[in-house]
């Protein structure tokens, strides 16, 4: 048999393989920057929605107009948008090639927006004395916490059955002073923990049926 091996075959294979990985890395980077732009744009849109909501609420307050159903509806949509952003950022984060700091900035913006939405929701609930919708604050942990994952599924299931329920998720491990205040306020010591309609705190996993029995 003909012996065809030459050293340059190994070198060529290595160089082509290296080039392919470089190309994959470059394309990954391109998509990564698009993900960041997309994530940022989603947050910006929701920020504008929040600002618009605040302006509308101030307008109603100044001109003594009370339109609680409209505010409820807008608040509901805001909550849904935030949920979508949360899911998107989590998916992007697992595909990320960029410096983690860039994603942490996005996450920070997102959590702050959630906190703002939570505060606004409380204001509306107090001023409208509305009992038609529910807000659940969900403190979770991402580090191999199956219990947090299960709680997430139970909350997803709950939202599927009850459209008037907003879930705002907070990563207990994320370093953000405003979130620390929230955790301190509710004395969050473990994950998962949920806070139902600003008051009822439940530590550990709770099924969607049990949540329903607590909020009705």
């Amino acid at each position: 048999m003909v012996k065809v091996f030459r050293k340059d075959m190994l070198i060529t294979a290595f160089l082509i393989a290296f080039f392919i990985f470089l190309l994959g890395f470059y394309v990954g980077k391109l998509f990564d920057s698009t993900r960041l732009i997309n994530g940022d744009s989603m947050i910006l849109d929701t920020q504008l929605d929040t600002d618009s909501f605040v302006t509308e609420k101030e307008f109603f307050s100044v001109f003594a107009v009370q339109d609680c159903p409209l505010l409820d509806k807008r608040m509901q949509r805001l909550g849904e948008n935030l949920g979508e952003i949360g899911r998107t950022i989590t998916k992007y984060d697992t595909r990320s090639l960029s410096d983690k700091d860039v994603y942490n900035q996005l996450k920070r913006k997102y959590f702050l927006l959630e906190l703002k939405a939570y505060t606004l929701r409380k204001e509306i609930a107090d001023s409208c004395a509305s009992k038609d919708s529910n807000v659940i604050l969900f403190f979770y942990n991402t580090e191999n916490n199956q219990e947090s994952l299960n709680q997430g599924y139970a909350l997803d299931s709950l939202v599927s059955d009850f459209n008037n329920t907003i879930v705002l998720s907070v990563d207990t491990e994320f370093k953000e002073p405003a979130l620390n205040s929230l955790k301190a306020y509710y004395n969050i010591t473990r994950a998962p923990t949920i806070v139902l309609n600003y008051e009822k705190k439940v530590e550990g996993y709770i099924s969607d049926e049990d949540i329903v029995s607590l909020i009705i």
């Binding site: 048999m1 003909v2 012996k3 065809v4 091996f5 030459r6 075959m9 190994l10 060529t12 294979a13 290595f14 082509i16 393989a17 290296f18 392919i20 990985f21 190309l23 994959g24 890395f25 394309v27 990954g28 998509f31 698009t34 993900r35 997309n38 998107t88 998916k91 992007y92 595909r95 090639l97 199956q146 994952l149 299960n150 599924y153 139970a154 997803d156 299931s157 599927s160 059955d161 099924s207 969607d208």
Partner: protein, 405 residues
Amino acid sequence: MAFLSVFVSLFWVIVNSALSQHEKKRVVLKNYPLVTVAIPAWNEERSIIFTLNCILKLDYPSDKLEIIVVDDKSKDNTALVTKNFISKHRKIKLLRHAVNKGKAGAMNTALKYSHGEFFWVYDADSYASRGLLKSLVERFYAEGSEKVGAVVAITLIKNQGTWVEKMQRLEYVMTAFMRKLTGSTDTLHTTNALSLFRTEIIKEVGGFDEGNLTEDFEIAMRLRFKGYGVVMCENGNFYTRVPDKIGKMWNQRVRWFRGFIYNILKYKKMAFNKNFGLLGLFQIPLEIFVLLSLFISIALFGYHVIGALINFLSMIYIMGYNFFDYFTLPTFNQFLLEFNWRLLFPSIVVLCSALYLYIEAHRYVGEKWKFYIPSLLYLFVYPLFRSIQWVHAASLEFLRAKKKW
């Protein structure tokens, strides 16, 4: 691991394309040398006559064939059936073991009484194409080197009825092709059921290793270790019978893999040793690395699969019917952005290279290439089983479990 897969598959594509630019040389001999055909037989009363007839019909000068059947203390009538047959064919010798010594033992007995320049091991469950022996002998002369210890033939599958057999068909086609590629880079280090050996060299290196689970692999490693070549013969092939049931196939593969682990450790000095050229510096380290990576991958895969399974079952249990709402088809934009692009390029290259080698392998053995369910099972499901077989084999070897043939 992904980089290594891309690198190795590209390397073989380059080797194959370089090889296809060379024309095959064939040496035709005026006088063929004496060849001893050794048939180790254990409980072969049903196949031995067919095997002997196949040998007698070979396209090889009959006066240049010395046929030795070694009955390895069969429990059936192998010896009697053979005795009756050889009463009409005087040139066939029958040697009988008083105790069962295994295949390597039977081959060593035949080797002791052989007079041929070449020694041809002929498994009783295989049969050669008529021109194979000539091709194997010619291959020794074409190489033009006294340092070639063995010539390996292309193995194909005789029985292709069940899906287990069909699945192995593809494996044998790919193996034959990979042997061609390793042969062309001087890294071939295995022999098989119908390999031809130079008698003098086999005697010099001490014969076949009795008690070894894969004596065909061991003798090739020993030949390479002692500085002798192992080359591939591209003309002619032989057919072998493969296990028809998954259980039998499992036991056979575990035995092979145990043999591989044992022998690679036995000849570990060859790894990273420049005296063995590309075999020592590339092929053996690559095989060791792949083996180690396989065990690590299985551990990681098991961990992730178990985790994902627990997660999935929890999801179904918790969400009930709402489980279906959880999954929505992504938009094109979402798909683009959420896709793992880092793995796409290497995966495409590995898949394209595999497809190219798959087609080339079929061209090489002269069979039509086709995709059917057993092929898909072999490509996408069997690797998982093979990984578990490797773990099974490694654990048996580690525990020094009793060897079973």
